[in-house]
Amino acid sequence: MLAALRHRYGILLVLAIVIAVLPLAFPSSYYFRVASLVWVSAFAAIGLNILMGKAGQVSLGHAGFFGIGAYAVAIGPTHLGVPSLVALLLGCLLSALLAFLVGRPILRLKGHYLAIATLGFGVLVALVITTESRWTGGPDGMSVMKLTLFGWRASGSDTWYWITGGLLLAGTWIALNLDETPTGRAFRALHDSEIAARVTGINVNRFKLQAFVIAAVYASLAGSALALMNGFVNPDQAGFLHSIELVTMVVLGGLGSVLGSIVGAAVLIMLPQVLTVFQEYENLLLGAIIIVSMIFMREGIVPMLSKFMMGRRA
């Protein structure tokens, strides 16, 4: 068993078991809803982690792509008569294309300048979504047609639990795949030393762009999934605060750790649900928890825990 866990399929297996077994402990379908939210956010966070954790490029505007995915499945079927799944793919394509076009100039920037440029991009996307209300329903958002596959309608919290769980498994698989490949190594190389990566023949701009596009497609897919699951979309999903939330998930869980993104998403989605008992102290506690965990687990929850476990075994 232990030996099997060294392999990336070991992680996938455990994740699959968790997804499969968790519902046994659910007293009501509200838990399906929360877990599905975790899976969707984790999916987006994993993508962003490829950009931030692997390739070392920050994006404070990633919710923009999330919003594009979400509005694609809203606008496609409603205004253009495109089936949901096709709209979802078109959303991915649009996100990828936009990431490609915007990424070329943006990714030349470094550090905080990259942060503000991506932030600006995200704000622009959210602004367009809020303003063009003829298409998007404006600030109150619009409803989304249910996903229909060969006559079968995807609805109900449990159905979406399995759909998003499957999506998460696929997303995890792909992210883990990258690790031991030339592309994955190029990402990590340019993160550690851009200059050394360049002199070893890595076209740094090309790989940054690839990571940006991958992360954009992940976010777009997650956005589409959430919109289809909720049956509605609104501009908040493309907003600055959602971008920050995604980044926090990645960093809190652990930069560069695929499992970390899942844990980070789980923490940030579930915390507000748990903290409701504290009523008006909710935000105060949320802030305090974020600060304390970043101080004591500065590399993120998962890397810190695994280091702790390794230390104990040694």
């Binding site: 007293p27 509200y30 404006g138």
Partner: protein, 393 residues
Amino acid sequence: MTCHSHFKSLAIAAAIALPLSGLSIYSPALAQQTVKIGSVLSVTGPASFLGEPEDKTLRMYVDKINAAGGVAGKKIELVIYDDGGDANKARTFATRLIEDDKVVAMVGGSTTGTTMAMVPVFEEAQVPFISLAGAIEVVDPVRKFIFKTPHTDKMACEKIFENLKQRNFTKIAMISGTDGFGASMRAQCVKVAPTYGVQIIAEETYGPRDSDMTAQLTKIKGVAGVQAVVNPGFGQGPAIVTRNYAQLGMSATPLYQSHGVASKSFIELAGPAAEGVRLPAAALLVGDKLPDGDPQKKVVVDYKQTFEATAKQPVSTFGGHAYDGLYIMVEAMKRANSTDAKKVRDEIEKTKGFVGTGGIVTMSPTDHLGLDLSAFRMLEVKGGDWTLLPPGT
């Protein structure tokens, strides 16, 4: 992969399982003796000035009702969640109310965005939901289990345009907030303007957090022939618009605000600049100035006193909407002598002549709001307070 991935996996399993199982501690207890009414409000976030008075009102009056013996022989248990103005969160809390708290009814939904996100949940679960959101789309088209108490933004536009017509104004300018409330009302106004022979000759917008609207107002000032300016918006925006309006010396042109600013704090924030501003609002704001014969007088004066004494802040029509929603719900339960969701729904729909803070409500299978234009009063700010505008001026 390194060998410690095993622990990573364990950690994630634990991280997910523990808090979730922790949540189930709050599973329903004593469900027989109480009736659970749920609420999801924007107590924090950009719409907190809606959610906060609503939250306070609900708590205040549920205590009162319980002290008086409850409803249908049961005490009310109120479950309130704060969505922070986030529609996605509201949706999750709606599911939680239905699936986990197993509420039999819902009074809440501070904004149109959060309400629309929650509507499918209650429709599907067949639980009656009285929304506190403004936009007309909540009850148009009519959905079986969805009701609302505030006047629609369309009605606000109509009320304003009616007044414009009386003053023979036909050319107006609009400056709207780009938040949900402002954008929705703006759209409704644009739609009904032709019916009243009103022409919108200039249009500007401002963001929900903007702190200076002189640029937009200067542009409107530069347009010839503007006879009045209408400002659909809520929050602090209209107060700043009003102040900038006076600063630019535009006060000679009448300024109309919407029911989105219907609270004394608007006058406080806008200061002397608010003098002469008109707006459509519920009777609540002018309770003590209503003639004694007014059927609403007792209700609004009582509510105002109760709210201001407990909450220590000026009364707003927003809290009033929650009051109306709660009592429409409770009275329906009383009439049904049951807390069965479907029976309660049927009784809500039969609400007739209910005197609330927002007006006199008479619902029907085709009208889940039950208010008409008469529920709105046209007010003007005079001497730092709301005054009732005599009909025909």
